[in-house]
């Protein structure tokens, strides 16, 4: 299986295999942006108000160890949440497709 096949799987999963290649790539990239933003929001949603300010401050510091320690302590389920967020975005996309198709 090469990357062309992988690309084909991807666009079939998204139901965009009949679109022009340029459009396919743009849609994939836009969906990626939405996923990244959604994960960002999820992180903030999991933090208490005071934690949000601390998070922004820590990320500005650039201290990798501190960032990891903070996230590990405040959002221990972060990996699961990230995974769920990706699936949620994909599910929302497919659901919206179904809805639009059927009016």
């Amino acid at each position: 299986m090469n990357n062309k096949e992988l690309h084909n799987i991807l666009i079939k999963e998204l139901g965009i295999q009949n679109l022009p290649e340029e459009a396919q790539n743009e849609i994939v990239s836009k969906l990626g942006e939405i996923i990244l933003k959604s994960i960002t929001v999820t992180i903030f949603e999991q933090l208490p108000p005071e934690g949000r300010a601390e998070f922004e401050s820590i990320t500005q510091s650039g201290d990798n160890d501190l960032i990891q320690e903070f996230l590990g302590r405040t959002i221990p389920d972060l990996p699961d949440l990230m995974e769920a967020e990706v699936k949620k975005v994909l599910l929302a996309f497919k659901t919206a497709e179904m809805k639009r198709v059927n009016g």
């Binding site: 299986m1 999963e13 942006e33 009016g103």
Partner: protein
């Protein structure tokens, strides 16, 4: 292989899936409720897929399950489908999850099931009448009713027009332009929804920065990263591990650069450690792939707040990163490049491997210098080891081997490019290699030269039996990881100790363990050995290539040359035993 063949016991028309409007609406409502929480999402998606699963399978009285009604595809999708169905029934009989701890697995399996069904319906060109996927059947059924109410998850799709859109007439099809416009509208709605969530969470500025930074990223990298994220959501198990590994190998490099190598590596280790702590076992290949993607995503998000790191690592990437997924073009990717000679080693420049920016010049010189009697293997492996201290020896060997193959440093015909001692070899972020030494072809006696199967006499004195048992276990693990269900095409053992079940390795006719290297080299040049096993073991071209690569890997790691008349299984054990004994001598 005729996918439309129906076994005698099966009815001519399999039961149409019964994803109902009601069930879809129910799932959609739950999904909307779950918009702000991870667990409810799982429940929501479970329901959607569960409805599809129930519909797709039907009951015994109604007709056969999909996986029993059709023959398998070359990559074993139907077999995998059956396994997934069985596991789902095991975890959730009657659609009810018995153990909450298995909810995540259930969710992944359910998504994989839907993915497999959908893929099968496309790949094997099954008509909608004979084998519609649950998804397609649902669309058809809902379309026929023409009375869909607002069912989309409102919170997910905030910004969606509330009026009922125009109904698509039955039988009519959208043009590509209409379809694209529709999807763009969906994406715009989803973006609005995320922005609104960000506002409520007090993350507006942070999310805006993510968006702004994203817009500065080159289109081809955007595509590669997005594809990785989406594929991680689909599930690498559903895609096939080979594809997943290939994708992640490239994506990891891009994400390391965009997110900062140190941060990326830190999160990757963090996620893998957490997996081990939570489940009490090391992450398998799929879990590692997922962790790589998640680590990359997190590093990119946080790199927005760390502009210096981002700038440092994005500089120099330029166009040197070769196509990933045919980035931007959808063409098949070929990362392989010729070896480029350079006049000066770019020490201290961002052209070095992503993890080698901050090391002292002396150390860098040591890592890049080719020593007398050595090939390019050692400098490459050494640089990787320094950049990735958390990688295991096996991972380092595999990556080194992959880089050397892709750069055509070593070839399957036994030739190898070598440079003169003292030259410098540099591994770049995209996996390409440059050097400043005179290159010459070196004929490595990879498989041509029969050698005595005996190990060196001084090594024998160390009692090889003591190491043979350990070698046997490790070879089993290696094969399981590389050719078993954790590593290739989804078939094989379910546990590391169940190696005997791996068809590709142990099948009497086609298993690699029972064939010599000479037979491996000759395979594929004549008729298939057995029709029943035509896609397995030595009859499978992709597996053959992987096995040839494995043999080179074992030879490079152990220094033990294979005998062309030696069985592959025996050679791998012999090489591994020698490797341990050599290590023990040092």
């Amino acid at each position: 292989m005729n996918i439309n063949e129906t076994p005698a016991h099966a009815p001519q028309q399999p039961q149409e899936p019964t994803l109902t409007q009601e069930s879809f609406e129910e799932a959609s409502r739950i999904t909307a409720d779950a918009n702000r929480g991870g667990q409810k999402l799982i429940e929501g998606s479970n329901l959607v897929i569960e409805r599809a699963r129930r519909g797709g399978r039907g009951t015994q009285a109604e007709g056969p399950i999909v996986s029993e009604a059709i023959k398998d595809t070359p990559n074993g999708s139907v077999a995998r489908l059956k396994k997934v169905e069985e596991r789902l029934d095991e975890i959730a009989p009657q659609g009810i999850i018995i153990k909450s701890s298995e909810a995540t697995e259930y969710d992944e399996l359910a998504l994989e099931l839907a993915s497999l069904k959908k893929r099968l319906s496309v790949d094997v060109e099954v008509t909608e009448k004979t084998l519609p996927s649950a998804y397609e059947a649902a669309l058809k059924r809902l379309s026929e009713k023409k009375s869909v109410e607002e069912t989309a998850p409102a919170e997910v799709l905030e910004g969606t027009p509330t009026e009922t859109p125009e109904v698509v007439a039955e039988g009519s099809e959208m043009t590509p332009e209409e379809k694209e416009a529709q999807i763009q509208e969906i994406l715009a709605d989803m973006t609005n929804g995320v922005n609104k969530r960000a506002e409520e969470a007090g993350a507006t500025d942070f999310v805006r920065n993510v968006g702004e930074k994203w817009r500065t990223v080159d289109a081809k990298y955007k595509y590669a990263i997005s594809a990785g994220l989406i594929l991680s959501g689909i599930g690498f198990a559903a895609i096939g591990a080979t594809a997943g590994v290939a994708a992640i190998a490239g994506l990891g490099t891009v994400m390391r650069m965009l997110g900062g190598a140190a941060m990326f590596a830190g999160f990757e280790k963090f996620f893998n450690n957490r997996h081990e702590k939570k489940l009490g076992e090391k992450p398998d290949m799929y879990a590692k792939d997922n962790n790589t993607i998640k680590a990359g995503a997190l590093a990119i998000i946080l790199a927005v707040a760390l502009p210096e790191i981002l700038r440092e690592h994005i500089q120099g990437a330029g166009d040197s990163i070769h196509t990933l997924f045919g980035v931007g073009t959808a063409e098949a990717s070929n990362v392989s490049t010729a070896v480029h000679e350079v006049s000066n080693v770019p020490v201290g420049t961002p052209w070095l491997h992503a993890g080698l920016h901050d090391i002292p010049q002396e150390k860098l010189a040591e890592l890049t210098t080719v020593k007398a009697g050595e090939g390019i293997w050692n400098p490459v492996r050494g640089q990787l080891a320094f950049a990735h201290p958390d990688w295991s020896p096996a991972e380092l060997n595999a990556e080194t081997h992959k880089i050397l193959i892709e750069n055509k440093i070593i070839n399957m015909d036994g030739t190898e490019i070598r440079v003169h001692p003292g030259a410098h070899v540099v591994v770049h972020p995209d996996g390409t290699i440059t050097h400043n030494g005179g290159a010459y072809d070196y004929k490595a006696p990879v498989v041509e030269a029969p050698v005595s199967p005996s190990t060196p006499s001084e090594v024998v004195a160390l009692n090889p039996e003591a190491f043979a048992e350990k070698a046997d276990i490790d070879v089993r693990h290696y094969i399981n990881e590389t050719f078993g269900n954790k590593g290739f095409f989804g078939f094989g053992a379910t546990t590391p100790d169940n190696i005997e079940s791996i068809t590709a390795w142990n099948d009497p006719q086609t298993g690699f363990a029972h064939h010599t290297i000479a037979e491996l080299n000759a395979a594929g040049k004549g008729p298939m050995m057995l029709e029943a096993h035509r896609d397995y073991g030595i009859n499978n071209e992709a597996l053959r290539e992987r096995m040839k690569n494995s043999i080179i890997l074992f030879e490079n790691s152990s220094g033990v040359k294979p005998d062309i008349n030696e069985k592959i299984g025996d050679y791998l054990k012999r090489a591994t035993t020698a490797m341990y004994m050599n290590q023990a001598q040092k």
